[in-house]
């Protein structure tokens, strides 16, 4: 398994390069213009000059090469500099001063380094989307397990009904619905997420909780619905197997049979789904972030897409690609741990 992991890690470098190239070409091919949001009162020749200033006149391959250099050479240097200068862990090392004011990946909308904005956006995305994912998993697994164990019980039927209705109603409706109920009529929670809020004592923590409740509810509903269905289906498949009968015949308690034997064997699809979802956490939740104005990475990607801010879109998509490849690798390793019969070599 270790050699497999190492080989896959090495293989993922050319994979990622290839993916980044495909994404770049796709973005080049897609119609769009960073000047689309400039008012029509600005004449076309001025817009053309603005495009030139952004470097749009260069051939695509040159633009791609510049982006590669900036992401794989300039940005790591800045990261190392930061490690040796400000970080807690390695701050005792002498400052490396690797970064010599080379051009970084600059966003076309804001003319500021993309990485800085991404770092600025991460906290709210991780707080809201990450927490909702954890909440979703914590709710979904017990529901899925119990629904399968007591198939067609009232609990199972109710769970099925709620999760399926929840899944078939999109967040662009549930979001405003929650705002109307909880912000307008009840006035319990704010409808606008304050990204400048600092948590430093109990009161500010409750404020943070209140502003997170609604987006987390919307997102957790989707996660729960999806995961609990897979969990239930997979448990059902395994509960009828012979080894379960054998385990029961040996006199093992129901708890052990269900929670150890059946659960472990049912985890493969669930692990797959969870691993597929983790990169999405970093990707933020585009619609939900926008509805509640959480302004995390999802909203960043959305505005960048609409403004045709190619460096931003490219860098964000590449970060997602990196996470997707990594977490799918982790899932593959986990399969081997869950079911030792799975062999990759």
């Amino acid at each position: 398994m270790l050699t497999f992991a190492v080989r896959r890690l090495l293989l993922s470098i050319p994979t990622l390069l290839f993916i980044s190239f495909v994404i770049f070409m796709l973005l080049q091919l897609a119609p769009g213009d960073p000047m689309a949001q400039v008012p029509l009162t600005v004449p076309p020749d001025v817009k053309e000059k603005m495009r030139q200033a952004l470097g749009l006149g260069e051939p695509p391959l040159v633009q791609y090469w510049k982006w590669l250099v900036q992401v794989f050479w300039t940005e790591p240097k800045i990261f190392i500099d930061w490690l040796t200068r400000d970080s807690f862990l390695l701050g005792w090392l002498p400052d490396t001063h690797l970064y010599q004011n080379e051009l970084r990946v600059l966003s076309w909308q804001t003319r500021s380094p993309v990485m800085d904005i991404v770092l600025q956006r991460l906290p709210q995305t991780l707080w809201v989307v990450g927490l909702s994912y954890i909440v979703g998993i914590l709710i979904a697994l017990p529901i899925g397990i119990y629904s399968a164990y007591r198939q067609y019980s009232v609990f199972d039927q109710a769970g099925t009904f709620v999760t399926m209705v929840g899944f078939s109603i999109p967040p662009f409706f549930t979001g405003p619905l929650l705002i109307v109920i909880f912000s307008v009529y009840l006035g319990w929670f704010p409808s606008i997420y304050d990204t400048t809020h600092v948590v430093n004592d109990w009161d500010s923590f409750t404020v943070q909780l209140r502003q997170m409740v609604m987006p987390i509810m919307v997102l957790a509903l989707q996660t729960t619905a999806q995961l609990s269905r897979y969990m239930r289906a997979s448990m059902l498949d395994n509960l009828g197997q012979d080894y379960v009968r054998t385990a029961r015949a040996k006199g093992l308690s129901e708890a052990i049979v269900v929670m150890v034997h059946v659960l472990r064997n049912s985890m493969i699809p669930v692990v797959t789904v969870i691993a597929l979802g983790v990169p999405a956490i970093f990707g933020g939740a585009i619609i939900t972030e926008n509805v509640f104005k959480v302004n995390g990475i999802g909203q960043l990607l959305l505005t960048a897409l609409f403004a045709n801010d190619l460096p931003m879109v490219m860098t964000l998509t590449f970060i997602f690609a990196f996470l997707i490849v990594t977490f799918n690798l982790i899932a593959d390793v986990l399969y081997g741990l869950l079911d030792p019969r799975i062999r990759y070599d």
Binding site: V22, F167, S168, F173, T317, Y344
Partner: protein
């Protein structure tokens, strides 16, 4: 659709030397029941599946035959009769603007809600089913092949990673730029769009199914019954068809249910981007999205398409449950 060795119960031949009394059977006096009859019998016993199937049929016939019963054109504007409430509102609010000419009310331009629901259902159901089936076929195909053939696992899974990473919006815009005109020329504005939407939704949503199916197949193919099948010389595709596919049916069913809901919703998001049907062509997703701004004053406009989508998805879900149970020989006949 037998799926494991336990299923192949040995039916002893009765014409041997005198057997002991207890085993003296007369032999099968009726031809063996076909497996599909058993499946059907089991399926009919599944209450949820029958209810699910009933609602699905109801909705399907409703949208297919609806236009002949309720002949109002869904795109017909009647600005004088705009913002009508559904007829049942009159029960608690006699002042509400209701009328039998628009039993479920009308929208802000006076288009009839019932006619829109029917016409929208046709589009949504067609797009939903077609896109879901397409994504299921690609996903299952890729997943099974990647899981079963070690040599193809790497390339196919890297391809999956690639598709997972592609940003959807630019992909859509590229698809529109390249394919809209040719499709429109060959299949007409609505037919061309239908193909484009189904293809786009299908192509951007098969990856989770592929990963899930592959994960299951990786584990299944090391199981004893596959080894047994292999040892008697079963060809790989026969193993896949007879032994692997039936065993990954339940995650596929879940994918199908979730996929249908996603496809119906995604279609409405596409029309916002100008990739979908023309803006006056109703679909459930679009009705729902358009009505969100007015949900306090006219809740029925979000609730009705919402119920329609939910009922369809629930129906498919229960149908899937029933089908899975009926196809599982361990449950069947119990």
């Amino acid at each position: 659709m037998t799926d494991s060795p336990q299923d192949d119960l040995i039916v002893a031949a009765p014409e041997t030397v005198a057997p002991i009394e207890a085993l003296r059977d007369k032999g099968p006096d009726a031809p063996p029941r076909s497996k599909w009859k058993d499946v059907w019998a089991q399926f009919r016993k599944h209450r949820g599946a029958m209810i699910g199937a009933f609602f699905l049929m109801l909705i399907t016939f409703g949208v297919l035959l609806g236009p002949y019963l309720w002949t109002l054109d869904a795109q017909k504007l009647d600005i004088r009769a705009k913002d009508m409430r559904p007829i049942y509102t009159a029960l608690w609010n006699p002042e509400a603007k209701t009328g039998w000419n628009h039993p479920l009310g009308s929208d802000q331009l006076g288009r009839d809600n019932l006619a829109q629901l029917i016409a929208g259902g046709r589009a949504s159901m067609a797009v939903g089913w077609a896109a879901m089936l397409l994504s299921l076929i690609i996903g299952t195909g890729v997943g099974v092949v990647a899981g079963f053939f070690k040599r193809l696992d790497g390339p196919l899974m890297r391809l999956t990673d690639l598709f997972l990473s592609l940003p959807i919006l630019p992909l859509l815009l590229v698809a529109v730029t390249l394919f809209r005109q040719p499709l429109r020329a060959n299949f007409g504005p609505e037919g061309g769009m239908f193909i484009l939407i189904v293809a786009v939704v299908g192509i951007t949503s098969w990856m989770p199914t592929a990963r899930i199916v592959r994960g299951d197949v990786l584990a299944l193919k090391e199981r004893e019954f596959v080894l047994a099948a292999r040892s008697i010389g079963t060809r790989p595709f026969a193993i896949i068809r007879r032994h692997l596919l039936p065993n990954v049916l339940s995650p596929i069913m879940v994918s199908a249910t979730l996929g249908l809901a996603t496809a119906i919703i995604t279609e409405s998001a596409l029309s916002f981007l100008g990739v979908g049907f023309p803006s006056d062509f109703p679909t459930w997703g679009k009705m729902l999205a358009d009505a969100v701004a007015r949900m306090e004053d006219y809740p029925e406009r979000v609730v009705l398409p919402g119920i329609a989508i939910s009922l369809t998805v629930l129906g498919v879900n229960y149908l899937g449950d029933g089908l899975r149970d009926a196809l599982d020989p361990r449950i069947r006949g119990r």
